[in-house]
Structures are given as C-alpha cells and as structure tokens.
Subunit: 120 residues, 2 copies
C-alpha cells in the first residue's frame, strides 16, 4: 500500500554531491533527489526529457546559448537532445523527474557518472 | 528553448478547486498544479500511477483501508487500480505528476470531472 515520502527526511540521509537517489517510481519514470555543488559535466540525453525542481537553494542551468537561474520553488524541463550543464555556487537540493534508467551524465562517461542509483 | 516555471506565480493564476492546470510536459507525462478544498470523489485510475506532492498546506488521502496524512514537502504515489479520495480541511496546493491525459476522476464521471485542462 502507498506510503508517503518526506523530502526533508530523505535529504538528510545523504550528502554526496551529483549522486541522485531514487525516492519514487511511477509509470516507468523515477523521482530522484540529488544535491549539487560546483560544476557538472556538459552532456545531453538523446531519449529523455529531464525535469529539475529546486527544493532548497539555487543553481544555474547552462545551455550552449543561454543560462537559466533557478531558485526554490521553480522548475525547468530540459528537452531530450539539448546540451546542458548544472552549476551551483552553493549547495542545492533538487528533485528530478525522468524516465527510469536515465544516466546522470547522459551521452558522456565521466568520473561523476553514476551507473547504479541507490533507493532511499 | 527551455523556460523555467515559478510555482508560486502559477498558483496565483487560479483559485478554482479540483481543477488541475498543466504546468509542464515531459516523456508523455504531465506536471499539473491543483488546489484542493473539501472532499473529492472516490475513484481509481486503471492504467496510471499518480504522484501527489504537497506544495502548500496539507490534506489527507483516504484509501478504503487506511488514510495517509500529507503535509508540505511530502509526496505520495498512488498506484494504478487503487481507489482513493483526497480530502482537504483547508486549502492545499498540490503538484501532480502523471501520464498525459490522466482524468482527474479516473473511472468515475462526476460533476468535478475535468475533461479538458488548461495550460498555465
């Protein structure tokens, strides 16, 4: 039977940056929680759109031709095929919605690539 | 190109209860914003799981055999096929994440059924 998820509790369970955790799954999609700090790697997802919802803090999503600044209570959908790079000057907590199995670094293999995600 | 969505701004655009608005779309799924107050109708979705994320306020999700109380910063995934009824004593603002075209009253036709949803 359905159990609720408290975001604050889940966020308190991890501190590693750029390492998404799976907090829920529905309709072949996953709800992930992740903390960012610093600059990620440029990448794109050929087959997946990605939603970034800021839970706490702020960050910038860089695109090749513009930058979008996101703060708490704002979200951004990055369409498949569009190169992007999240950059966070301070720690930010983000909820991701994307298809199950979406790789965090998309079409790029990098030391930050997380092949297997933990469920929390 | 991607444009961010500010939840607070979007919520300020409507006041009608039980009338979800489409705030985003990705991977065949929709992000909806909705305000609840009072008791909804018992229903289920035969083919769609539904996620309820509380943005502001609190409400109860009734199931036939239990009730889950949800507050701000908590979410609940209701699996397909499970009868449920949201009940809100006070106004609550909720983000829904579900497949495009999911009908708010599921397998039930009711005066609260919203056949066509507005994009905001």
């Amino acid at each position: 039977m359905p159990e609720k998820v408290n975001i604050g509790e889940k966020l308190s369970l991890f501190s590693k940056y750029w390492s998404p955790k799976i907090a829920g799954e529905l309709n072949g999609q996953q709800v992930k929680l992740v903390k960012f700090k610093g600059e990620f790697v440029w990448h794109k997802h050929d087959h997946e759109d990605e939603m970034f919802f800021v839970l706490k803090g702020r960050f910038k999503m860089e695109f090749r031709d513009k930058t979008v600044e996101l703060q708490e209570n704002e979200f951004l959908i990055v369409p498949r095929g569009v190169e992007h790079r999240p950059v966070a000057e301070e720690e930010v907590a983000v909820m991701l919605f994307e298809p199950a199995g979406t790789l965090n670094t998309g079409d790029v293999r990098h030391e930050l690539t997380q092949e297997v995600l933990q469920k929390i």
